[in-house]
């Protein structure tokens, strides 16, 4: 047994660190955050050239065929650099739904362009309840000449404005779940941006008014749809956790370096135990989140029967940890930590957005609690 990154995994992580530190200094993050979409086509192209957009997908669709641990190692660095835009929604979420349940023809049409970096996509799950419980999906998918017709609203849809297509989770009259692909510019689709705290990602309310989906754009129904969505949510949750680990690591490093140089009462404030102990607590949260995340990534990739539990441990822990690390970082840096020009708030805002993706800590603790206690 060896719970350390192997040489290949470490090389992937090191290469990602180098790539993002060159391509994505904080000035670029801030410039992209100021744009309408927080998306940069050139940077996306470069990510695709690195193989990041196809990392976990089969080679026959243009992917690289690597595992979730390799993905997590790369995402840690992507999160450390705070890559803005639709990577999580496109690659992890939409890509994983397609990988789990699309037909060969659908994969060629929709998954391959994601791998190649030619298309963006997102998954529309949440409704006004904002619940990640799949049973809460109510939006109607009525039968329509072999396909379905969608009417209703989806909320908190990530990156809908730059997605070329949306994967919509809706419910047929029979009660079974349906996953359907809707081109972003389809007739009857309208999008309203709903700005959240995270400046690096956009979310939207999307209305569907009698949107017709032909049979070949229905991905899955019933148990197959439910299983695919569950799997994609778990993969995305672990991916977001890995990104959060990288983000926390940045905030920790940034804070430790600040308290070594900021001097009060004639000494660096990092020489005082009140400050030191806070830094150690941050460090413990980062290492704990890393342990939980890599384990979940490994378990997901090895069809471990405990994988869902491991995912919930990682997402619950990382969600709380990233926020708490941010809280302590702002406090340790005093007034400077509260300013707009200090990067800490960019990560603090990201922590909030990431916490909510694929279920927050309360949601995942409940999932663990049910697995343990409910007979």
């Amino acid at each position: 047994m060896n719970f350390e990154l192997n040489d290949t995994q470490r090389d992937i992580k090191d290469a990602a660190r180098e790539f993002f530190s060159k391509e994505l200094p904080s000035a670029v993050v801030r410039r992209l955050s100021d744009t309408d979409t927080a998306f940069d086509r050139d940077l996306w192209r470069k990510c695709a050239e690195q193989g990041y957009t196809g990392m976990i997908f089969p080679e026959q669709y243009g992917g690289v065929g690597l595992g979730f641990v390799e993905l997590a190692a790369m995402l840690e660095e992507m999160g450390r650099a705070l890559l803005p835009g639709p990577f999580i929604s496109t690659v992890l979420f939409a890509g994983s739904v397609l990988d789990a349940c699309a037909s060969d023809a659908q994969k060629k049409t929709f998954l391959a362009p994601i791998c190649h970096g030619d298309m963006r996509a997102t998954v529309a799950v949440l409704e006004p309840t904002a619940s990640w419980d799949r049973a809460a999906i109510r939006m109607a998918a009525t039968a329509n000449s072999g396909g379905v017709e969608l009417t209703g609203e989806k909320w908190f849809v990530m990156d809908a404005d730059i997605a070329d297509f949306l994967i919509v989770a809706a419910r047929a009259t029979s009660g079974e779940l349906v996953l359907a692909i809707v081109p972003s510019d389809a007739s009857g689709v309208s999008k309203t941006v709903t700005p959240g705290m995270d400046l690096t990602r956009r979310q939207h309310r999307v209305s569907f008014d009698g949107v017709r989906v032909p049979a070949d754009c229905v991905l899955a129904r019933g148990a197959a749809a439910d299983a695919a969505l569950a799997r994609a949510i778990d993969i995305t949750a672990v991916g977001v956790s890995a990104e959060m680990v990288g983000g926390m690591q940045f905030v920790l490093d940034h804070t430790v370096s600040y308290v070594k140089t900021r001097s009060q009462f004639g000494r660096p404030i990092g020489a005082y135990q009140a400050v030191q102990h806070r830094c150690v607590d941050m460090f413990a949260l980062v290492e704990g989140a890393r342990s939980a995340t890599y384990y979940a990534a490994y378990a997901l990739g090895h069809d471990d029967p405990q994988a869902a539990l491991a995912v919930s441990v990682a997402k619950a822990y990382a969600s709380d940890a990233f926020r708490d690390v941010g809280n302590m970082a702002i406090q340790a840096q005093g007034g400077m930590g509260f300013t707009w020009e200090n990067d800490t708030h960019l990560y603090y805002r990201r922590a909030k957005g990431s916490e909510l993706m694929c279920g927050d800590a309360t949601f995942h603790r409940d999932r663990i609690g049910r697995a343990l206690l409910v007979r």
Binding site: F3, A284, E287, A292, A316
Partner: protein
């Protein structure tokens, strides 16, 4: 990263599992509940002898000294399997986890031959004479004197919080051998026979009601020079070695113990139909805490096996398991209410857990160490 057991690890686990199935005394916990601490200790000592005779004590110790020569990972598997089988603990905790490894690291061949096998077999129980009334967190302030007199040291002074001193045959003692010295210099680490004239052990009663630890007084205790460990004047370095073992290895045992109690709490909640939203949140929080400690431990062991030295993640394990156990004990009390108050196991572990963040280096000292040595912050005192 590969979390499957290697063929060697699988064989080790399977062989151990089948041995435990045949040898773990049944129902021992219930049978022994009314035992005095002395009776219980004698029982645990007998159990360790059984484990030793079958070749399972000192899994990661060199074969030359009666160990199994296995890896740290196999040592961790051993701890987990013992817990899974509901086996009693091994009696000689401090000898096995701390003092034995320190003798392996710093001892002469004669010392290794003399002491190690008897630690494994529990023929000689060990205690650790570090803390003094004025040298707790500030360990380098020890005042217990060791004055050279020919081929002996003559020891005078007092130790306190010495766990298992009442049962111990030997003591690993940190002394000041150079009376003119200050702080870390001039300390010598002695291996002291507790039966030597002048050693006086007085048990201290703890808040749990038991007397696990003691005061130990030394009055003109004569210790032969061949029982110096690591050389005269090098006591601080040797003591740090012991503390590093303490922080790295004891954690697995405690994490596994808490996990057993979490399982018991979960089973009790299921029997009683306790599954409301608050209970789910609290049980899950305890489960997450415990998993994170377990996994961070696995990472730490993997790091040592891969690189030969501990990585930064190992430094937070002591803080991790101790504080996680305290949080869990509160959860158990909350969920079972009055039932937990009158449950001997849960009541005991609730009180006992308060010692976890004090023993083996307080949480505050642990944080100072991590701040300085891992995060590179300036020394605060």
């Amino acid at each position: 990263m590969d979390l499957t057991l290697t063929p060697q690890e699988t064989a080790f686990r399977d062989e151990l599992r089948s041995w435990l199935q045949r040898n773990v005394p049944t129902n021992w916990e219930a049978d022994r509940r009314r035992d005095s601490m002395q009776e219980r200790f004698a029982f645990l000592r007998g159990w360790q002898k059984t484990v030793f005779d079958a070749g399972w004590a000192g899994v990661a110790w060199p074969t030359a000294y009666g160990g199994r020569g296995a890896t740290l990972m196999e040592q961790a598997i051993f701890t987990e399997e013992m817990a899974r089988a509901g086996a009693p603990q091994l009696a000689n905790t401090l000898g096995l986890s701390l003092i034995g490894p320190t003798i392996i690291q710093y001892g002469t061949d004669a010392q290794k031959t003399r002491f190690l096998q008897n630690i494994l077999s529990a023929d000689e129980i060990w205690c650790q004479g570090f803390s003094e009334p004025n040298a707790g967190s500030d360990l380098a302030n020890v005042r217990t004197r060791a004055d050279r007199d020919g081929d002996h040291f003559v020891v005078n002074g007092q130790k306190v919080w010495t766990s298992w001193a009442w049962a111990a045959d030997w003591c690993a003692l940190v002394t000041r051998s150079d009376p003119a010295s200050q702080k870390h210099a001039g300390l010598t680490y002695l291996l002291v026979d507790m039966k030597t004239p002048g050693v006086d052990v007085r048990p201290l009663k703890q808040m749990t009601g038991e007397s696990e630890f003691c005061e130990v007084f030394f009055h003109d205790v004569r210790v032969p020079v061949e029982h110096v460990l690591g050389g005269e004047g090098h006591g601080w370095q040797v003591a740090l070695g012991t503390l590093a073992h303490e922080r790295a290895t004891l954690g697995v045992i405690f994490q596994v113990q808490t996990r057993r109690q979490i399982d018991r709490l979960v089973a009790t909640c299921r029997e009683r139909g306790i599954d409301d939203a608050v209970a789910r949140q609290k049980v899950a929080a305890a489960y997450i805490d415990n998993e994170v400690v377990r996994l961070t431990h696995l990472r730490a062991i993997s790091r040592i096996m891969q690189t030969g030295k501990p990585g930064p993640e190992g430094s937070i394990l002591k803080i991790g398991w101790s504080e996680a156990n305290q949080r869990f004990q509160i959860v158990a009390q909350e969920l079972l209410g009055a039932h937990a108050d009158v449950d001997e196991e849960f009541a005991y572990s609730y009180l006992r857990s308060r010692g976890n963040t004090i023993e083996a280096g307080t949480s505050e000292i642990q944080r100072n160490i991590v701040a300085q040595h891992v995060l590179g912050l300036p020394k605060s005192y």
